[in-house]
């Protein structure tokens, strides 16, 4: 069992070098504006911008496709429903008694593009940024909320611990499954109940181990005098560099473009 979705892939691209804060802003702005797109020209522009950043990031296409796999089913089902049930004015062709309309086709393409771009922009962030950097960036961006007593540091710390533990649990699960199957456990039963039951020998050691490592971790943190975010300094101080400027300019151009298209040009 290996988790590849959203895993950091080391690289030296401009996008890798940019500050996590500006990348998070880029991702959020991108997602919001992708959802605001309505016409085909707006979609085209969004696609072009996502593609530009994708090309800059140097992440192999294979990984992007891999991150799309979980939603592929959803995409196919919505497409089929759209094509079959959406009623438009121009009939493109007919399957049996169902008419497929031109509008339905466009709607489906838009829908697919929208999901595609949302996932690509989110996964570009996780592929090019370590989880530590992401949580660091989130903590920084949430800092202003401290005025309303929002525990930004604590939330970021919980997130980074959780993210840190995910690959560990994946490895641990893998190891326990191997160990139990060497002892004669069976995991490939076709019967659902038997299958669930067969995972008991995996889950119990996993939970026992998880509680133990959580306890160890809290002891380790306390013995290093961890007491929350107050007065805590950073080993890696986040810096705003020219890469961030480039990225934010690209983002700004894109936003202005969409806004202009929606208000002035009306295309």
């Amino acid at each position: 069992m290996r988790i590849s979705l959203g895993r950091y892939i080391p690289g030296k691209s401009l996008f890798h070098k940019a500050d996590p804060r500006s990348k998070i802003i880029w991702t959020i702005v991108m997602m919001v504006f992708i959802l605001l797109c309505t016409t085909r020209w707006q979609y085209l522009m969004a696609t072009v911008f996502v593609m530009i950043v994708f090309l800059i990031s140097g992440i192999p296409l294979k990984y992007i496709l891999k991150s799309l796999r979980p939603v592929a089913v959803l995409m196919i089902i919505t497409t089929v429903f759209n094509l079959v049930f959406y009623k438009g004015t121009t009939v493109l062709f007919a399957i049996g008694s169902f008419n497929v309309y031109r509008e339905a086709l466009f709607l489906s393409i838009k829908m697919i593009l929208r999901i595609f771009m949302l996932i690509v922009s989110a996964s570009l962030l996780t592929y090019t940024t370590t989880s530590v950097a992401i949580t660091d960036g989130i903590e920084y961006l949430l800092r202003p909320l401290a005025i309303i007593k929002f525990p930004a540091h604590e939330i970021a710390m919980m997130m980074s611990i959780a993210l840190r533990f995910i690959p560990m649990f994946a490895d641990e699960t893998d190891k326990i499954i191997k160990a139990q199957s060497s002892r004669g456990a069976e995991f490939d039963s076709k019967n659902v109940f038997k299958k669930i039951k067969s995972y008991v020998p995996v889950l119990i050691p996993l939970f026992v181990g998880a509680f133990k490592s959580a306890e160890d971790m809290s002891v380790a943190m306390e013995s290093r005098c961890y007491r929350g975010g107050k007065g805590r300094t950073k080993f890696k101080v986040l810096k705003f560099t020219k890469y961030d400027l480039i990225l934010l300019i690209i983002t700004a151009v894109f936003c202005t473009g969409v806004i202009l298209m929606k208000t002035v040009f009306k295309i």
């Binding site: 080391p10 191997k178 160990a179 060497s182 002892r183 004669g184 456990a185 008991v200 119990i204 050691p205």
Partner: protein, 284 residues
């Protein structure tokens, strides 16, 4: 009959930036009735090699033969009954309510009659030295050493012909460690071929019949402990060492200029010193 690995090649996560060749051009024969020690620096592929022998990992190319039968997807379950595999820190895999149930877990799939299950659990417990009054206790009440013994029982209960152990003595106190090493010899004397991984050269020299040195996914040397542990420079070159007693006598020989034969176990060291004293001490 033996285990044979022929031209095994295995790569972790091929086609990704995390790609790593774990094993390449690997040939190995494990003879019946021996205690074979696998040594090598961290990340050299020792565990990967063990996982190929019982089919947890499938080689990218090459084949594994168990008693002349090639390991395939189909005979996996049959072959795994022949090959017991005790993982590193096996005590972490215990999960049942009682020690007895945990030891018997490996037999669930075989659908044996109840008295046969009972007999096998008691046999395994006796062989490993788990006392009978522990059998009805909860596995989570035991001490670390006891848990490890119980976990080993859980593997032995299927009566494997070959037993692989990944660092069986790590994390045990000196008493538990010595008992574990004696246990490996007990297994061999009971007719089980033992394959174990260790980082402790003293343990290897005291216990193994044959040693295989693995580095960077390749077998660099194989031979008796004496053959391996006389190659001091080679071993330290790949980040391994020789047993402490060998080091001691090598240094003694260098400092005093006296020829001392290669000594790899404590018993040999005592014998040599007794011999020297009986002849009136080291000549100066």
């Amino acid at each position: 009959m033996s285990i044979k690995l022929e031209d095994i090649k295995y790569t972790y996560m091929p086609g990704t930036p995390f790609e790593k060749v774990a094993l390449s051009d690997l040939y190995l024969e494990i003879r019946e009735g021996e205690i074979l020690a696998l040594i090598g620096p961290t990340g050299s592929g020792k565990t990967t090699l063990l996982q190929h022998i019982n089919g947890l990992l499938r080689p990218d190319s090459g084949s594994v033969f168990i008693d002349g039968e090639e390991l395939t997807k189909k005979n996996l379950f049959k072959i795994r009954q022949k090959i017991g595999y005790v993982f590193q820190y096996p005590e972490q895999q215990l999960f049942e309510e009682t020690v007895f149930k945990d030891i018997a877990f490996g037999l669930n799939r075989l659908k044996l009659p109840e008295d046969e299950v009972r007999a096998r659990v008691y046999d395994a417990a006796r062989l490993v030295g788990v006392s009978e009054n522990l059998l009805e206790r909860s596995v989570f009440d035991l001490s670390g050493g006891e848990k490890r013994r119980v976990a080993i029982c859980g593997v032995l209960v299927t009566k494997p012909k070959y037993l692989m152990l990944d660092e069986p003595a790590s994390g045990l106190d000196p008493e538990g460690k010595n008992a574990m090493l004696r246990l490996l010899k007990t297994f061999r004397d009971a007719g089980i071929t033992v394959i174990f991984v260790s980082h402790n050269m003293n343990d290897v020299a005291e216990t193994a019949d044959r040693v295989v040195v693995i580095n960077d996914g390749r077998i660099e040397r194989q031979g008796t402990p004496r053959e391996i542990f006389t190659e001091h420079d080679f071993l330290s070159g790949i980040g391994l060492s020789v047993p402490d007693v060998t080091d001691f006598f090598r240094l003694l020989s260098e400092r005093t200029g006296v020829e001392i034969p290669d000594i790899i176990t404590l018993d040999e060291g005592y014998a040599y010193l007794r011999d020297v004293y009986s002849k009136g001490g080291i000549p100066s």
